[in-house]
Symmetry: none
Subunit: 432 residues, 2 copies
């Protein structure tokens, strides 16, 4: 199967938005062995969209069109597709009802212009939108002589809505039509060491032209191992990829926290809950991360099982008033210091009566750095029960130096705090 | 002048690399009034590259091709262009000498395969590469009947080398041929109302084929207005776009919080600091957003000027222990209720001694919803000084219903809390 990906939008053509959809869709399509012949982008202009659809439909088996199905006058993809197919737009009554329900639930009435989001070319079917109001379109184009056929999927340009439709409607179609050949992929995630350090651990497993192949990618501080396997059947592929994944796990060890959709917080929650019904709990006391660590710990539903209290003590005064960190301690050692963070972690654990407490204080920048504590210096503390004392805490406190801008430093600091907790729960020393 | 941007590379087609070059080149071209008809991407495959060049050259005045001029076997752009032009590749002696010098300077000899980087189609001229070894190509294509002409520029895919060649060779050509024409863009951001509601406010300003034109885009809950203006001179364009931006501001009003790179938090910080040196301050008490609101308020450096204390009181117990919200109140009205949020906001303001306090409690889902409080129900409160009482607080509390998944609901709730504060600081009622 050959596919073409067509993106529609003035913002793309004018360079105001970088097209990340095409790359994402390409990766999905490639994963089921679908060849991608081309990407194309055209403006919100009906003759241009029509010409692009006509040119592409004759050259591929599957055409994915993203964008141009919003409710406003500059959204012209559905009209263009109807024109190319030589049919009228018709209203899908079921989706129109959904739209009315959507607004009614919010206590309003649907603006008249949104009715067009339930319109599709006659003969096509809708693709339900689980994250927005525009219905997707699933249509079939045939050449005048009926010799060529192209399946056309229209999805929104909004990445979240697009991804849900590709996963829900396009991928099942492609899998059902791939003729048995598969490209399987598995992804293992790590946090804490750089890409080249992970690659060194993998050694020969990363050699070019192996099948299954192993590559590394970096995103948001996570270094992920991508294992790809081409096989003539699913069963064969699954055996081969499982062997390679096991070899990767043996080489990289506990640095791997999860696979596929698994998250760092997800693994921590599993570990916190491993002793049965009642979860162990974590509290947070944050300075430079400003709530980001607490946000991550509550990313998953049911968070109240493991997260109850968090403090954002951004100022020294707040550290003193809320957590009782003595002003003298801060004066002597500074807010970004092991003694201060130790005191923050212990206080957060004591006040919240949590099993653990994580505390973070650092210099996220861009200002505020010094020769001894440059921007990126972050102190992280983990408080847990003193085995010799049922009430008191002991803490593990470490100082890190993260690179990047303010956003990156805050993000990496919060993830490193989670990683400290993770290794503690595993009963292992951090390998870095 | 009309242009097409063609990108060449397997890594782009397979989605392993996101194409940022096309967006960058588009912005450059648009800035001198060059129309962009399309972007296209093809794999490292000679028939595909040739077909794409043929299809594009007949449809535009300027074709920019990036990628496929490295030294290795999979770099086929120069061969493809020569084939389309019906000429041989010839060595540019001056560039070959440069290549030899380049390696000699590094104490080595040029690998044989790099000699191809001095080859260009006969009749074309090279574009010097100031940041790498591949010579760019400047060529002219003509249709068989000589009626159509297209200027073709080939540049490397490496962004740094590409940018230097576009600036050094392409832009001077376009400026010399633009007759002074420009396209100017400005973007205005809103939060709080849907895209169709914003479009309704804009009314006729969004009519197609106007110049300047107005379009809307949605990203992360923000609805942005994009104003584009074509003009025959920069001075004229600046006047026309300023008039249209003023018309948009008049139509949409205070819903607009910023322009271009300005952020919602950025405007709030400006408002908090408007009274001179000492900033007004904000504290936060968060339940379902779990620290995200505090994180947003500390996204900007210098946050300690306006943000000192935040509480993440995810459990009812934490709301009671940390903020003194009475257990009876929570029992009677529930944790997601206006009385509870009112109490959270007042307590956060009192304990932190901040000018304002924002409190959020809601059902982020996916579980926990009920018929009366479905997933997406979020109560937000803003506490501020009671004008009749120098110590006490009054609060504005509102209940919202956000759609989407857990991430979206939490994100929109935090942004809505910021928006409530923003309108309070503006001294205006929220327009929704």
């Amino acid at each position: 199967m050959t596919s073409i990906i067509l993106s529609v939008g003035d913002e793309l053509i004018l360079g105001q938005t970088v097209d990340t959809n095409s790359a994402w869709i390409s990766r999905e399509l490639a994963s089921v062995g679908c060849d991608i012949a081309a990407h194309a982008t055209v403006p919100d202009d009906q003759p241009a969209i029509e010409a692009a659809i006509r040119a592409a439909a004759g050259r591929c088996d599957v055409l994915i069109i993203s964008g141009g199905i919003g409710p406003t006058a500059d959204d012209l993809t559905r009209q263009s597709l109807a024109a190319v197919l030589g049919v009228e737009l018709v209203t899908d009554a079921s989706w129109l009802e959904k739209l009315h329900e959507f607004w009614a639930k919010r206590g309003g009435t649907m603006p008249a212009m949104n009715a067009i989001q339930a319109e599709i070319p006659a003969g096509a079917t809708i693709i339900p939108n689980t994250a927005g109001t525009a219905a997707g379109i699933d249509a079939v184009w045939q050449s005048g002589d009926l010799k060529l056929t192209c399946r056309i999927f229209v999805v929104p340009g909004v990445p979240k809505e697009m991804k849900a439709m590709i996963a829900g409607a396009v991928m099942p179609f492609l899998r059902a039509n791939s003729g048995g050949a598969v490209i399987l992929s598995r992804t293992l995630h790590t946090f804490g060491m750089g890409e080249s350090a992970v690659a060194e651990k993998l050694g020969d497993l990363m050699k070019r032209d192996r099948n299954p192949s192993v590559g590394t990618t970096v995103a948001n501080g996570f270094v992920s191992l991508r294992v790809n396997c081409r096989a003539t059947s699913l069963a064969l592929g699954e055996t081969e990829i499982a062997t390679m994944v096991a070899a990767c796990r043996a080489a990289v060890g506990d640095l791997i926290f999860g696979e596929g959709e698994q998250t760092l917080v997800g693994q921590i929650v599993e570990l916190l809950k491993r002793d049965g019904e009642k979860s162990m709990t974590v509290a947070t006391a944050e300075s430079c991360t400003g709530g980001l660590l607490a946000k991550m710990l509550t990313d998953l539903p049911g968070s109240s099982d493991w997260f109850t209290h968090g403090w954002v003590t951004y100022s020294n005064k707040a550290k003193h008033e809320r957590l009782g960190v003595s002003s003298e301690l801060i004066d002597i050692y500074g807010a970004v210091s092991q003694p201060t963070v130790d005191a923050m972690a212990k206080a957060a654990r004591r006040l919240s009566k949590s099993t653990f407490a994580l505390a973070i204080s650092g210099i996220a920048g861009p200002g505020g750095g010094s020769a001894t504590k440059p921007v990126g210096t972050v102190v992280i503390g983990l408080a847990y029960q003193d085995p010799a004392d049922r009430v008191g805490s002991v803490t593990t406190v470490r100082t890190f130096n993260f690179s990047g801008d303010r956003d990156m430093i805050r993000d990496r600091a919060a993830k490193m705090a989670l990683t400290m907790l993770r290794f503690h729960l595993l009963g292992k020393a951090m390998p870095f």
